[in-house]
């Protein structure tokens, strides 16, 4: 039987699937492509950083690696411009995973704030390399084979591949949460030393999680490169990307499944919309600042966790009300009842 929760997921993804059918204006479907790319990236980032508590601020390394993989391979393999370039999307993801192993091996030796700083440092190494190496085209970037699909239908295939990536990473993220591996990541988040003392191979688990989360970000970077047709170091290795996907996950709800999707949907769509409507590239920053103040003050756990807590608290109250009507009140709640000798 289909559970209610799963039904909601089907409805949500169904709505996302219908978007290009209902909205045909290329201006808005372009926003849709960027949004779906960020939904995939934020979910993928959350799969490691949200579950393990290791806040990585260098995911643009994987995004950029994926983008350059797409650009360099399509150019040097003389691939025809067209849908066969989509075959390079997973390749971009795999290259990002290969990058993630040594980066994770180094960065995951340290904890918390030091880890954040190291991921940022690694990010700048990659950005500077892309600017200065010859094979990346330097600051003039790279031009991919020019795709000549009509203006009207150009966005749709990209949107659906992006949606495929998003569904893929959401499923993986859900499976990770149910697996023993996911439990180990959560244990590391709560108390890494204690987890180690219970036999969790923390280094292996952390590097695996870090590497897995690189895949979809790399694949999304490759999709982005194909979509925009030319890439520049400052746009694919963009510090705003690092911060954005982390903020999306925080806004929606760190460590939840739907949180990063919701956060990306709200932030990326509104950013693109504001940029397009007012042709002002930095207007969104003001809105973001205000929005984050509101979220941090009123729902520091993120939107999804905030709503979930509200709903469960109301259900609890209703249950208590029903119980109070049905049965005489018991002297203690179950929690206190067991705590004999345990409370202080």
């Amino acid at each position: 039987m289909l559970q209610k929760k799963n039904l909601w997921w089907l409805v949500a993804f169904g709505a996302l699937g219908l978007f290009p059918v209902l909205v045909t204006n290329p201006t808005y479907t372009t926003i849709g492509v960027f949004t779906i790319i960020f939904m995939a990236c934020a979910t993928s980032w959350n799969m490691f950083s949200g579950y393990s508590g290791y806040i990585a601020l260098g995911s643009a390394v994987f995004y950029g690696s994926g983008a350059y993989t797409m650009a360099l391979l399509s150019i040097h393999l003389h691939m025809a411009a067209g849908s066969e370039l989509f075959a390079l999307v997973p390749v971009g993801g795999l290259v990002a995973m290969v990058m993630a192993v040594p980066i994770g091996w180094i960065a995951l030796r340290v904890r918390r704030h030091t880890f954040v700083v190291i991921t940022i440092a690694v990010f700048f190494i990659f950005q500077l390399s892309a600017i200065n190496f010859g094979f990346t085209g330097g600051t003039s970037g790279l031009n991919l084979p020019f795709i000549t699909w009509g203006f009207q239908n150009y966005n749709t295939p990209f949107y659906y591949v992006g949606l495929g990536l998003t569904i893929f990473v959401t499923l993986v993220s859900a499976l990770v949460r149910r697996s023993r591996f996911g439990l180990q990541l959560l244990a590391i988040r709560d108390d890494e030393d204690r987890a180690m003392g219970l036999g969790v191979k923390v280094t292996a688990v952390k590097i695996t999680g870090f590497t897995m989360s690189a895949f979809t970000v790399g694949a999304a970077g490759a999709l982005y490169a194909m979509f925009v047709g030319q890439i520049y170091p400052q746009f694919v290795f963009d510090p705003m990307f690092d911060v954005s996907i982390a903020l999306m996950a925080f806004l929606g709800g760190l460590g939840t499944l739907s949180g990063p999707l919701l956060g990306a949907l709200i932030l990326e769509a509104s950013q693109q919309y504001l940029t397009v409507t007012y042709s002002n590239g930095s207007l969104y920053l003001i809105l973001f600042g205000a929005l984050f103040l509101v979220v941090i003050i009123f729902m520091p756990q993120g939107i999804v966790t905030f709503i979930r807590d509200r709903v469960s608290r109301r259900a609890e109250r209703e249950r208590a009300a029903v119980a109070a009507n049905d049965a005489p009140p018991s002297p203690t709640t179950p929690v206190e009842g067991v705590a004999v000798g345990g409370t202080h």
Partner: protein, 261 residues
């Protein structure tokens, strides 16, 4: 009885502080061994050395005759040495039952964790049985962060038991909990000991140590001072000196405890 766990000539310095100085300790199979000493005498550091959290400057740790010096905490745990912490450490943002499931993977390779669900029915049944044993099975679905301090102590004991270790190191199991719970905890330790589990217990509560342990080792300033049956240790003048001589803040309390016990 055979020696199960032995630390020989362990030294460890933190900067200029010699936390452990040629310290030795033996735990016999099937025993409940107590480890006492004034604050700062190196008991917890010795625990950390044995369980792999701290690498000693010199000396060896052996378990069942094997040298395990310098092994990582996860490897030490997998060999069958479980421990609890002085400041109780649980995983506060997952449920009590999930806390219990973490230790079940100690004998699996890490890659296996990717391919299986977080628990099997047997594991959940076993976890629930152990929660029942310590008396908190009704709280299984609660976020562990919602537990009281005493419940956390019980949970920490229970989730170490999940992996069925041969020896369990308890760091102040009776610290900061009330009398009813102290009795409950010592009762559980007795039951487990009767089933063949070995215990090494650090504790400041003298009554607790003296009533429970067959053997007591006293540490002082990072050194092993004396080992013997509780009655011998209590009568040993060096033990009184160790507690009275130092400038530790809980000396008065301990002097009284040692005298009265």
């Amino acid at each position: 009885m055979a020696t199960l766990l032995a630390a020989t000539g362990i030294s460890k310095a933190f900067g200029g502080l010699q936390a452990l100085n040629q310290c030795s300790l033996e735990v016999e199979k099937g025993s409940i061994t107590g480890l006492i000493g004034p604050n700062g005498s190196g008991k917890t550091t010795l625990f950390n050395v044995i369980t792999g959290y701290v690498r000693p400057d010199s000396g060896t740790v052996s378990f069942e005759g094997r040298d395990i010096t310098g092994a990582r905490p996860d490897a030490v745990f997998a060999m069958g040495i479980g421990r609890t912490f002085q400041l109780t450490r649980i995983f506060s943002r997952i449920t009590v039952l999930e806390n219990m499931l973490i230790a079940t993977q100690h004998d699996e390779s890490w890659i296996r964790g990717l391919l299986r669900s977080k628990s099997s029915k047997t594991e959940v049944d076993n976890a629930m049985a152990l929660l029942d044993f310590v008396g908190i099975s009704r709280l299984a679905d609660l976020q562990a962060g919602a537990l009281s301090y005493g419940q956390r102590k019980l949970l920490e004991l229970a989730y170490v038991l999940v992996a069925d270790p041969d020896v369990i190191l308890l760091d102040e199991p009776a610290g900061g909990v009330n009398l009813t719970l102290i009795n409950q905890i010592s009762e559980k330790i007795r039951q487990l000991n009767a089933q063949g589990k070995t215990f090494l217990i650090v504790e400041h509560n003298m009554e607790f140590v003296m009533s429970l342990c067959q053997n007591v080792t006293v540490m002082h300033q990072g050194c092993h001072l004396v080992t013997g049956a509780p009655s011998e240790v209590r009568a040993d003048p060096r033990v009184l000196d160790a507690y009275l001589g130092g400038g530790d803040d809980d000396d008065d309390e301990l002097r009284e405890a040692v005298n009265n016990a």
